[in-house]
């Protein structure tokens, strides 16, 4: 179903629940994986995905159609992730590397990466990036989001996003090669 159709249905109080259900079914997988790659843990990703869609429900009526629905939902999910990670650091007075260590431990324990050494190194390398650069990398590398859409989601210029992605790739390749050398 097209976004415009969902929005028109949502505006009708009698069809609102059906429209929201369709919206969730359309975007839940993309949003879940976007969040999951940022927070690694399934339970955290579940909480943040739900919070994202509850915010969508609360604010969809005021959604201005100058952005696409897809990028708008992505933006909410992105902010949820960044707030979650920064509040986690504040809450436990953790220095940056400690939250990073926690995420690394979760990646190492993830059954999806068991037996795939190169993929595990790649995931560990991605986790070493700063949160915002990791977001940019994930959106470009995994989700095939265009730089223009990323600019809408993050509020950053296309040029800055391209530079950020380029640097992220260099850092990742360097880390994976160093790790391969050590082992």
């Amino acid at each position: 179903m097209e976004d415009q159709e969902i929005l028109a249905k949502f505006a009708d109080p009698a069809a609102r629940n059906v429209a929201f259900n369709q919206l969730v079914r359309k975007y839940q997988s993309k949003i879940y994986w976007h969040v999951r790659k940022m927070v690694i843990d399934h339970n955290d990703a579940d909480d943040l995905t739900q919070d994202t869609f509850v915010k969508v429900w609360n604010h969809l009526e005021n959604f201005r159609r100058d952005a696409s629905l897809y990028t708008w939902i992505y933006r909410i999910a992105t902010n949820e992730c960044l707030n979650f990670l920064s509040s986690k650091r504040r809450k436990f007075f953790m220095p940056l590397h400690d939250v990073g260590t926690e995420l690394l431990q979760k990646v190492e324990a993830d059954p999806g990466l068991a037996g795939d050494e190169i993929e595990l190194r790649l995931q560990k390398a991605i986790l070493r990036l700063p949160d915002k650069q990791r977001l940019v990398f994930n959106m470009k590398y995994y989700d095939d989001i265009t730089y223009e859409q990323m600019a809408e989601i993050t509020g950053t210029s296309v040029g800055a996003l391209k530079a950020s992605y380029h640097h992220a790739v260099k850092k990742i390749e360097q880390y994976v090669n160093e790790e391969s050398h050590l082992n």
Binding site: P13, R16, N17, F20, N21, V24, R25, Q28, S29, Y32, W33, R36, K37, I40, H42, A45, D46, T49, Q50, F53, V54, W57, N58, V107, D110, P111, G112, L113, I118, E119, R121, L122, Q123, Y141, Y142, V169, I172, E173, V176, N177, S180, H181
Partner: protein, 153 residues
């Protein structure tokens, strides 16, 4: 020697982490509906009729409520002002015996003093003759007894 790792040569796994529980994406829409539904139910019960109105009607209704509030407060303040007319004030004061009124006024220096009464009586005897029984000599003595600094000489 190992070939250096290059990201563009690496086979991309779209979802590299372990998948969520099997029925997760079936349950998620139901869980979300359960989370948003109570709030929606409450607001519909209280303001369902309001939500059914179109946006211009809602705006008009809000304007009417605000203007009605202003009009009501204006009318209430006006009736409070008009309820005490000057005629009613005079009538209620006339009902008080003049001697009692004089005792009340003299009870505190901040209201009226004997000197004030003496000056008033000297200026126009008819104003005070109904309640101030004093001879012209007594009035003159009262005026003479007035402290010098109060007369601004």
């Amino acid at each position: 020697m190992n070939t250096p790792f290059r990201l563009d040569e690496h086979k991309r796994r779209p979802q590299p982490l372990a998948p969520p529980p099997a029925d997760y994406f079936e349950r998620l829409p139901r869980q979300l509906m359960a989370r948003v539904q109570p709030a929606a139910g409450r607001s519909e019960a209280a303001f369902g009729w309001l939500a059914a109105l179109s946006m211009p009607l809602r705006t008009a209704l809000a304007s009417v409520v605000v203007l009605g509030g202003f009009a009501t407060s204006f009318l209430l303040s006006q009736s409070a002002v008009t309820s005490v007319t000057p005629a009613a004030t005079v009538a209620s004061l006339e009902a008080v015996p003049r001697t009692e009124m004089m005792q009340y006024l003299l009870a505190s220096d901040s209201r009226v003093t004997l000197t004030d009464l003496a000056e008033l009586s000297t200026a126009d005897h008819s104003l005070t003759d109904s309640f101030l029984q004093a001879s012209p000599d007594e009035l003159q003595d009262a005026l003479d007894a007035q402290p010098t600094d109060d007369t601004y000489l």
